[in-house]
């Protein structure tokens, strides 16, 4: 019995390693197709790799980014923006992803001017977007160790100035640690509760209620990014960056 188990384990390991080798080959092929200008082929291969890895429950910001590039070159702006957003969710601090997303957003029909926000909110978000959830977690733990160190100095060192410094540094580090934890959990929640979506239809009407006969509020075009607020049957209530809210059928958008 034990021998059988061992054999099974070996097989599993072998398969996993084979799979990774295979996907690496496909990735090389995909980027070669991209270089050649065969974007359709490149898209197909990248999608294949992503599907394989999703089955295993993992995803890669680099592959999403590359797929986004291939879609962009193939003039499928909506899909390009969707994949850039997916990559950014996994690696919020990456400047390449950010640049390409910004650039792709200049190529879409809708120019949505974001409503004015309090500048601290923007600061908060830009700091939060420096790293992904795990990195923030590690930062928080490191800060926690530093905090413990400060506590130790405060409690057991007899020198007065060292104790004072340790006390105040300890307070600052503790606050930073809390902030890092908040960022870490926010990033995690953004990935678990994916509430952003990208319009995939060339043009779609946003309505006042989840009913195709209701009044049309405004139109959105392919590539516009929206936030999902509510779900009602086959309809989503969405909000765009300028604060406008309306309902859209489920089929026209794809969740990031």
């Amino acid at each position: 019995m034990a021998r059988y188990k061992f054999f099974l384990l070996l097989m599993c390991g072998l398969m996993v390693s084979l799979l990774t080798i295979a996907s690496a080959d496909i990735l090389d092929e995909a980027s070669e197709a991209y270089r050649r200008g065969d974007y359709k082929k490149s898209i197909e291969l990248y999608e294949k790799v992503i599907a394989e890895h999703l089955e295993k429950g993992e995803e890669s910001p680099e592959i999403y980014y590359n797929l986004g590039n291939a879609y962009f070159r193939d003039n499928q702006i909506g899909k390009a923006i969707l994949n850039y957003n997916r990559a950014l969710l996994l690696s919020p601090g990456d400047s390449d992803i950010r640049h390409n997303l910004r650039f792709a957003n200049t190529r879409i029909e809708d120019k949505i001017i974001p409503s004015n926000r309090f500048f601290l909110v923007d600061w908060f978000e830009s700091v939060q977007n420096l790293f992904n959830s795990n990195t923030w977690g590690v930062i928080a733990i490191v800060l926690f160790f530093l905090f413990l160190g400060c506590m130790g100095v405060f409690l057991f060192v007899r020198i007065l100035w060292a104790r004072k410094t340790a006390f105040y540094t300890g307070i600052v580090i503790f606050l930073l640690m809390i902030a890092a934890n908040v960022f870490a959990f926010n990033q995690k929640n953004a990935r678990i509760y994916r509430n952003s979506a990208v319009i995939m239809a060339p043009a779609v009407s946003i309505r006042t209620s989840p009913d195709s006969n209701s009044k049309e509020l405004f139109q959105l075009h392919e590539g516009a990014t929206v936030k999902i607020r509510k779900i009602d049957g086959d309809w989503y209530e969405i909000e765009i960056a300028n604060g406008s809210v309306g309902w859209i059928p489920k089929d026209y958008i794809e969740i990031i």
Binding site: H53, E58, E59
Partner: protein
Amino acid sequence: MKYVRKRKTVCFFTTLFLTLAIAANAQVTFRASAPSTVVKGEQFRLTYTINKEGKDLRLPSDMDGFEILFGPSVSQSYSQRTVNGKTTSESSFSYTYILVAQKEGTFTIGPASINVDGSTYQSNAVQIKVISPDQIPKSQSQQESGQSGSSSPTIKSTDAFIRAIVSKSNIYEQEGFTVTFRLYTTLNVVNFGKIEFPEFEGFMVEEIELPMNQQLKIEQYNGRSYYTADLRKTLLFPQRSGKITIPSGRIEMVFSVPSGKRITTFFGSQEVFVDVKKTLVTNPVSVNVTPLPPDKPESFTGAVGTFNFQSKISTKEVKANEPVTLTLEISGTGNLKLIQNPEVEFPSNFEVYDPVVKNDLQITTNGLTGTRKIEYLAIPRYEGTYVIPEVEFSYFDLKNRSYKTLKSPQYTIQVAKGDPVKTTASSYVNQQEVKVEDDIRFLKTGKPTFQSRDDYFVGSLAYWLWYIIPLGLFVGFCIIKRQQAKQNANIALVRHKRANKIAIKRLKVAEKYLKEHKQEEFYSEILRALWGYFSDKLSIPLANLSKDNIEKELSNYNIDDELIRTFMEILDTCEFARYSPVKSDVAMGNLYNEALEAIGRMENQLKLKKSKKLK
């Protein structure tokens, strides 16, 4: 005096006769004149004019196509003018024939000859165009006009109209052609009213200037001859393909029309003319504009016609910050005004100014002819060897119906180091703005990193353990440390309390040695008892004890100096006695008692202090 007057009269006469002689010998001019266009079957006059009387006028022998109805009728005119007291006279004789043309076509009436004072003079030849008569018989039209004249005079559309005449009706896009608005009339024009020419939509318009004073010409149209005059002539360049129609324009004109009434005047019966206003509408004209063939070269920017292309550069060796001028010259015929400037790709660190364009154009019926000069001024900012690539200019050749591309040569410019002063003077241009990247960035290469979709480190058990375990360890460490400190404190206390007893116990052992007369053991036991006592009492480890720090610590405990001295003496005695062991039992007994007493006194003093502190 008389003589003088006589001289004067002689003078006068001589001058008079001289002038007469000059007049007699003056050039004889003999000219033939006739209308340039005549209608077949209608009479016209052929007149020969000579400024001196002649004889024997002979018409040319071949008067083919013409029949002389009457002639010659000779008339003579004489004119004399006096200007500033000077009198000149002119006389002319004209011989008029009335002819009728019998055939259509263009005929030349050869020179006629005349004899004046014995010499023969020849006239000029006359060319006459004979056109066919109007299809509507004149008598009938006259009758008609006579009939209608009884009511109110009207102008029929065949009597006066305006035609829009295009020079070509099948053209290429951007190919120039003319539109002429020509007035045809059989009536006298008295006045012009409102003039509305049509709008030329879809065309680039260039007006052709017409002479201010136009001669009326006779032209035949639809079998009738009219007086014609060009009202407007424009050069048009179609801007799009397809069928483009020039709509009709309207012009109000006042004609003088025979009213049909006749009045008798001094000269006989005459017809009365009335002024009639009429709006003439031009015919709409359509032209077929063929689009240019699709195989346009890349450098084609819409030039259509026949062109030459030349380029010139001011210098090939220049210092940095000194200007270089590149002149492109396009000459020829076509839509020169609409040509876009050919693009010149200067090296990127040249400062290029907007080109100066000079047009030297004439409007002709084929389009604009002339040259278009484009001057690019560029200033190299850094030394080096730079290449200005060849400049291409493409146009659609109307003759061959194909695109043609002309190229200027490639120029290589050597830029030497410029004057440093100049550089600083224009330093503001040296700060160049780097262009913003205008495309997406390239793929991410290398091994991709994978992140799990469902498991997150943050918030997981492992994550919390990273907090809980170190925190637990830290707290545990704190507790242990605390307890250790407490324990240490307890041990010291116990030892402090029991120091007395231990010391006495040791002294008892010393007493035993005393009774057994074991000197060495006795002294070492007393020393041990005292050292141990101080170590316990003062909480100082034995190894660190010395006489000096005991003395110091004891004074810290507020022990009497005398007692301290006693202790020191005992210690000294003991140490001394250990190495010179010849002492009596009495001395040893005294020392024993002394030590016992000193410890007792010290205990008392410490107790006293404690009770004082408590109080």
